[in-house]
């Protein structure tokens, strides 16, 4: 039976899970949730995620939310298929992957997310992007990317010389970031730039990226 993913194709968190599903060659059905109608803040969706956020996943009687938990579940369940995203054979490598998954969660995401919000979501609420918020977070993100530049000068990917879930978690928000005038933060750091070009060209992400049209006319 195919997995059911409730979300929206242009949402970065839904895209995070879909990228993982494609890497693991897992069958799934995307069931659209109408964000503009507030469907995510009402029943029946609230029963799937009491925090009223997309995505949510159903696998038989298992109901999950939080995109990183869902992705970790998918990577574990389908560990024999597709690319090894979690380094199951080595506890040490798996621990390194976990470190950089936490870095994405605790260092990268809090800096990049407000920037994406200001450029893509604020206009939908009739607001002009707040430059003060953008500038403050660009400064934070720059410092994080300095750490990434140093790490990626020593290893090809974040957790080591292997592509992992830690790299994958960065894809969807960074994809939107590269559409803003701030893309130079990535492009000016040669190792970060090379890493970004590598991971964003993976076929599993390319499948998802084509639907990530948030903020474009008609959406």
């Amino acid at each position: 039976m195919a997995l059911k993913l409730y979300g929206a194709a242009m949402s970065p968190c839904t895209s995070r899970v879909m990228t993982c599903l494609h890497e693991k060659e897992a069958d799934f059905e995307l069931i659209p949730i109408d964000l503009f109608a507030g469907e995510h803040k009402q029943l029946p969706f609230l029963a799937k995620n009491p925090f009223g956020q997309i995505p949510a996943l159903e696998d038989g009687d298992l109901s999950l939310f939080e995109s990183r938990a869902i992705s970790a579940y998918v990577a574990e369940k389908y560990k024999e298929a597709g690319h090894d995203l979690i380094r199951c054979q080595s506890l040490k490598e798996a621990a390194e992957v976990k470190v950089w998954m936490e870095v994405e969660s605790q260092q990268y995401h809090p800096a990049i997310s407000p920037i994406i919000f200001q450029f893509f979501a604020a206009p939908l609420q009739g607001k002009v992007p707040d430059q003060a918020i953008i500038d403050e977070n660009l400064e934070k993100l720059g410092k994080v990317l300095d750490v990434y530049e140093e790490k990626l000068s020593r290893t090809k990917y974040l957790a080591g010389d292997f592509y992992s879930l830690a790299d994958l978690f960065h894809l969807s928000f960074t994809y939107y970031f590269m559409k803003t005038p701030c893309a130079n933060l990535i492009n000016e750091r040669p190792h970060v730039k090379a890493w970004w070009e590598d991971i964003s060209s993976r076929p599993a992400f390319q499948k998802v990226a084509s639907a990530m049209t948030f903020g474009e006319k008609g959406n």
Partner: protein, 212 residues
């Protein structure tokens, strides 16, 4: 095993709680944050983000408290308290989910409140009451979800204490000593869970370190 940290740091306490629950030997190396040691060239190789804690075991170097607890809980699965939820991928997924909830839903508003209500007074700064009001409202909504969850499950992930509960301890303890405690008290299941997890002997050992 070495933990480089600062006893008042919530992230350091998170790792210490895990080590005490697993009943494993470790050496605590104090990092003088007041002197800025965590940003010094000596410390940065241990954590390039200049934050505590950092962890070493042989040639393995880790940082990020939640990645560290995960490693300890797996490597020492056979010792001390069972902090994981072994079983099927499905049970592990539910465990993972509640760890994500702590990190992404609980931590942001609660950390803000700890900063305003505990940290600022400690360092002679003025609490911003508007920020407190805003974040207490956000935190209350999160706790409503916890109240519903804990009404149907004794602990967050399942019927026994796991890392999903442990990760909350440092922030919960700080908030118990603040006006935000009322948000726990008005929710019976949350209140019972808070009382239960903060009474654990391993957590008392972490609190004991603060007195040294």
């Amino acid at each position: 095993m070495k933990v480089h940290g600062y006893p008042l740091s919530t992230a350091t306490q998170r790792v210490l709680a895990c080590l005490y629950e697993k009943d494993v030997e470790f050496q605590f190396v104090n990092v003088d944050m007041v002197a800025g040691e965590h940003k010094s060239p000596n410390f940065l190789p241990l954590n390039p983000f200049g934050q505590v804690p950092a962890f070493e075991e042989g040639d393995l170097k880790l940082f990020e408290s939640r990645a560290t607890t995960h490693y300890i809980a797996h490597e020492y699965a056979d010792k001390g308290t069972q902090l994981l939820l072994p079983g099927s991928n499905k049970t592990m997924a539910v465990f993972q989910l509640w760890k994500e909830v702590e990190a992404h839903q609980f931590d942001p508003p609660s950390t803000k409140l700890v900063f305003e209500l505990r940290y600022k007074p400690h360092f002679g700064m003025t609490t911003d009451t508007a920020v407190v009001e805003e974040y207490e409202a956000k935190f209350a909504k999160v706790l409503d979800v916890y109240e519903a969850r804990l009404a149907e499950s004794k602990y967050l992930a399942c019927d026994h204490f796991t890392l999903a509960d442990l990760h909350h301890l440092p922030t919960v303890q700080y908030l118990l000593g603040s006006s935000a405690k009322k948000l726990f008290d008005s929710r019976p299941h949350v209140s019972a869970w808070v009382a239960d997890i903060t009474a654990r002997p391993a957590w008392s050992k972490v609190m004991g370190m603060l007195k040294q």
